[in-house]
Symmetry: C2
Subunit: 348 residues, 2 copies
């Protein structure tokens, strides 16, 4: 319903494989110094000199990860790229290349694929990343995007999930839970539209949560910020699932537990108001919601002074020798943190 009208519809069958690839990649430019050869050969050629290479991969399936009923194709392309850049930032790295696979059914015209590519290329251009390869093929139903992001990091400076120490402060960027509330708004308006197609969607006043859901950004500012502050994280990951399972990953891989404090969790007021409207506890959106694409990291407690008062960085708890994961609520109770993660197979 947010999609722009696309008057021209060229059937995919009008183009062969090679003409389609040529058309989709016509606007691709190579800018990153590490890209020696992009699309058009058996493989891309990259040169990272003394840096280590980071590589991450994601598969996005229509009806599972996105709903074209309310996700504009260009936003979908943008988001698919950005969430993969987020994985590279979450290693303290810099994304530099992207490879895209698309499987599409015949119901998509060529122009739809061009919209997706336009979104991906916009993200690439904003983040200084080159599109260097991929594959486009048909599917029997729906749209599937496969995204591989490549980045780099000076040798020995990648920050993994398993380096946290007992006593370390757990810090998060930005605020949490808004992308999940954005999804609730979209689902509500979709249901209203299905009940009455003449209804205009009520999206006013929800700009922040909708943007967090439809057009998230990755924290490219964190790496230079930590450098300026002179802070070296001991562990790091991005918050793509809910905060709860991310903390369990980080703690488990570091062989530790973690205590967080509900009153420390950064939440946007718009998100909190909406949660109230929907009858959802905002902390539930934070712990189990997902898609925030903020960065979670640990620093030695001695470095607290360096980040104190920084509006982008919020300490929310600390790592513990005891392998116990808990949150101290506003009421002073301790409740266990539980893994939610992805349960797409359930209930199908």
């Amino acid at each position: 319903m947010l999609d722009s009208p696309s008057p021209k519809r060229t059937p995919l069958s009008d183009l062969g494989e090679f003409a389609l690839i040529d058309r989709l990649t016509a606007a691709v430019e190579i800018k990153a110094p590490s890209t020696k050869k992009g699309v058009g050969d058996d493989a891309a050629i990259l040169d990272f000199e003394d840096s280590e290479v980071l590589i991450s991969k994601d598969l996005l399936v229509e009806g599972v990860h996105f709903d074209l009923g309310y996700v504009p194709l260009k936003h979908l392309g943008y988001k698919s790229a950005v969430v993969n850049f987020s994985d590279i930032y979450a290693m303290n790295g810099i994304p530099s290349q992207l490879l895209i696979g698309m499987a599409v059914s015949n119901r998509f015209p060529v122009e739809a694929l061009e919209e997706i590519y336009a979104g991906m290329l916009l993200a690439c251009s904003r983040y200084g990343v080159d599109l260097v390869g991929g594959d486009t093929t048909s599917s029997q139903s729906g749209l599937i995007l496969s995204v591989t992001a490549v980045g780099h990091v000076p040798k020995g400076t990648a920050v993994r999930r398993d380096g946290a120490q007992a006593g370390d402060l757990l810090v998060v960027t930005g605020d949490l839970g808004a992308a999940y509330m954005g999804l609730q708004v979209l689902e509500r308006e979709k249901a209203a539209y299905q009940a009455n197609p003449n209804l205009q969607p009520e999206l006013q006043g929800h700009e922040y949560v909708l943007e967090r859901q439809l057009k998230p950004e990755a924290r490219k500012d964190l790496r230079p910020l930590l450098k300026d502050l002179g802070v070296t994280p001991t562990s790091m990951m991005d918050v793509s699932d809910g905060l709860s399972s991310e903390i369990l990953h980080l703690g488990t891989q570091s062989g530790l537990g973690c205590t967080i404090y509900e009153d420390k969790i950064p939440m946007d007021p718009q998100m909190m108001h909406l949660a109230e409207e929907f009858g959802i506890n905002p902390i539930t959106a934070v712990l189990n919601g997902g898609e925030d694409y903020e960065i979670l990291f640990t620093i030695p407690i001695a470095e607290w002074d360096k980040i104190k008062g920084n509006p982008s960085l919020t300490p929310i708890g600390h790592m513990t020798q005891d392998k116990v994961f808990q949150m101290v609520t506003n009421a002073g109770q301790s409740i266990p943190l539980e893994a939610q993660g992805w349960t797409a197979f359930q209930g199908e």
Copy 2:
């Protein structure tokens, strides 16, 4: 019909996301010196020191690229990995890492995914490649595999498609057309089985073409062979589509044309007999068939002596200044070479 009986069927919904990933990656070992960190973090960490990095990506869709009616899952996993290694060899590189994305519908039990993984890991082990990452998710229908291969090559020694010179000899490894004939046998036996499920498939005597289709190997022997012979190719690519469109790619990207000779094309006798049985001209299987995963490359004519008589290497023609692509037939006629490539969108 070739699949081994798999008595245990654990529904995917019995496992959560994290338990499924743990189970699938339990057998993953890291061996390549360039792998610093594999699965389990936001991104894999690789270190290629002074080498350039090669990266290639492929999307394989059930019903488009494979038919589970006759492709055993373990073979599918093996082939998906190997065809991506082939892309790295086709740059004169050495594959070293693999990332796998799988989207699967609920009709697949966990054991089916384990079979696919087992095939991929077998290929990895045979080719000295580490599985370092990926993503597993649900799909609404069918199975989709997304494969990213990473490799490396000493700086400046990658061989691209665009380096051929007029007068260069065009050389191909192995023999061509057999994978296509293997597919014809499988399609025939599938049709016979559907007509009468009590029929046993007649696969005896067709081992070579079936193996070329179901379990192809990539030409890892070519790089050391060329080194031994002291030959430096000017351009190189793999034969994954039919020979015809591959020659058009290589010639067009090099700004040249090409003349090949039908009587020089290497074909296996079993393939030729089968083509006769099916009433197919064997040269059609070669030009338009695909999935041979041999390597096509050009060398200066002055280097002909170095490869002469080598059973793995067959000169089949030469590059021309004229941008004309033609084959001289056994009858002495010149016929134009035409792009076929992938036309999966057609006829749907």
